[in-house]
């Protein structure tokens, strides 16, 4: 065990090509999916939080349900849709990073929507009243709401990114954990552990935990700014 740990540190420091490839795939996947989730989730979340339109309540309930969706269920859904016999089988996206990103977007966009919706609900009334009182239109009011929520937008992004990078159920099903292609940190940890190669698994675990620590430090700092 001690030697596996020492070897893990060595692997990180030496920058083994396989490790670097896994890190690059992970970064590509989780940065893309979290950014897309942000672009989709922030406007929708602001809308849900600020406007009481008909049909809003069912949409909010659906969003909460999606937030709690088990990743493997999402993985299963996309596997069926994109497998050879599925309706989108011809797109040949199964076992690609692209499909991993798509599945993750479905998993994490509800997190961004929910977090923005909760926050914006709390500030919408005075902001909308003030903007309307100044004679501003809906578009200006939307941007004012976004500006009031800027720290929440950052922390929603970090939450989405943290979920994306740590998620394993969906990406292993639709990505297949193919070495040098779709293998990301979480799927690699499972794979190497099954193969008895603990050192690479530990190395990846250390990196994941470090990223998670940094993200949580950032979120905590942002929450400090939010409450001040």
């Amino acid at each position: 065990m001690k030697t596996a740990f020492a070897k893990a540190i060595e692997l990180i420091l030496s920058g083994s090509p396989e490790l670097l490839n896994i890190l690059a795939t992970t970064a590509r996947m989780s940065l893309s999916s979290s950014l897309i989730a942000l672009l989709l989730g922030v406007p929708i979340g602001i809308l849900y939080g600020a406007v009481r339109f008909p049909g809003r309540t069912p949409l909010v309930v659906i969003n909460r349900t999606l937030t709690g969706m088990p990743p493997v269920v999402c993985g299963l859904l996309f596997y069926l849709l994109f497998s050879g016999v599925g309706p989108f089988g011809k797109m040949k996206l199964l076992f690609t990073v692209k499909l991993m990103i798509i599945a993750q977007v479905v998993l994490i966009t509800p997190i961004v929507i929910g977090s923005m919706e909760t926050f914006v609900s709390g500030i919408a009334a005075p902001v909308r009243e003030t903007a309307k009182g100044l004679g501003f239109n809906g578009v200006r009011t939307f941007f004012l709401l976004a500006n009031e929520s800027v720290y929440q937008i950052f922390s929603s992004y970090l939450m989405a990114f943290a979920r994306a990078i740590a998620e394993v159920g969906a990406v292993s099903m639709v990505g297949g954990a193919i070495a040098w292609k779709t293998n990301v940190m979480t799927t690699a940890i499972m794979q190497y552990t099954n193969m008895g190669n603990f050192s690479l698994g530990i190395a990846l675990g250390i990196i994941l935990l470090t990223i998670s620590l940094l993200v949580n430090i950032a979120v905590t700092l942002l929450q400090g700014r939010l409450s001040s």
Binding site: K132, G133, L144
Partner: protein, 217 residues
């Protein structure tokens, strides 16, 4: 310009039954009445932030209308930026800030202001732009005397220069007398023009609390 009649009901409670009235450009119309008499509801419906019962054509859909809610809100940006949101005339903005003794705070964060300072900022934000109708819900309620005097001067000047009709909700009867050419007296959600009831109300209120003027009514 004419304000059409409308009513407002919350649940089964009718909080406002407004018969309609005529407003004059360049003039200030004061709205007075006890707590809960429907003044803010009236102001919000005129401004379009609250909807009246049924379908009524409101003024705010026909003319430009500025509204200072009873509770002022500062956006997450500097005081000066808050003002310039509503027009980019820096000179005008600085003049109004100066009159309201906010110049020293112009680069401070809007959210760091005190209640009275926030109210001054909210008033300044409206005064830098032309509106046909300006609705102010107790603008001076949390301002100090100096601020109140400056605000009264600026509002009076605005009505004349912009040829705007101004609706001023106030608890200060002295202020209403100093500034307004007409007074709407709200009594339990209804306009009351019974002079006796008004007398009673005025007696009940006595002289103004913390009023910068002579307070004698």
């Amino acid at each position: 310009m004419r304000i059409n009649a409308f009513t407002k009901t919350y649940g089964s409670r009718r909080v406002l039954d407004f018969p309609g009235c005529e407003l004059e450009r360049g003039k200030i119309c004061a709205v007075i009445g006890a707590n809960g008499s429907g003044k803010s509801t009236f102001a919000s419906i005129l401004a379009g932030t609250v909807t009246a019962d049924g379908k009524v054509e409101t003024l705010s859909s026909k003319i430009s209308c500025g509204f200072m809610p009873q509770k002022s809100y500062a956006f997450r940006m500097s005081v000066l930026r808050n003002i310039l949101l509503n027009g980019n005339d820096l000179k005008k903005a600085e003049r109004v800030l100066n009159e309201l003794s906010l110049m020293e705070l112009k680069n401070a964060g809007g959210k760091t202001l005190s209640g009275g300072e926030t109210a001054k900022m909210a008033l300044a934000r409206l005064l830098v732009r032309h509106y046909d109708l300006l609705i102010l819900d107790e603008p001076c309620a949390s301002m100090d005397m100096k601020g109140t005097i400056a605000a009264e001067r600026l509002i009076t000047e605005y009505a004349q220069k912009e040829n705007a009709a101004v609706i001023l909700v106030t608890h200060s009867l002295a202020q209403a007398k100093r500034m307004a050419s007409c007074i709407l007296f709200f009594d339990d959600g209804k306009l009351n023009d019974d002079p006796e009831r008004m007398e009673e109300f005025l007696r009940f209120y006595g002289s103004d609390k913390g009023d910068p003027g002579n307070g004698g009514i």
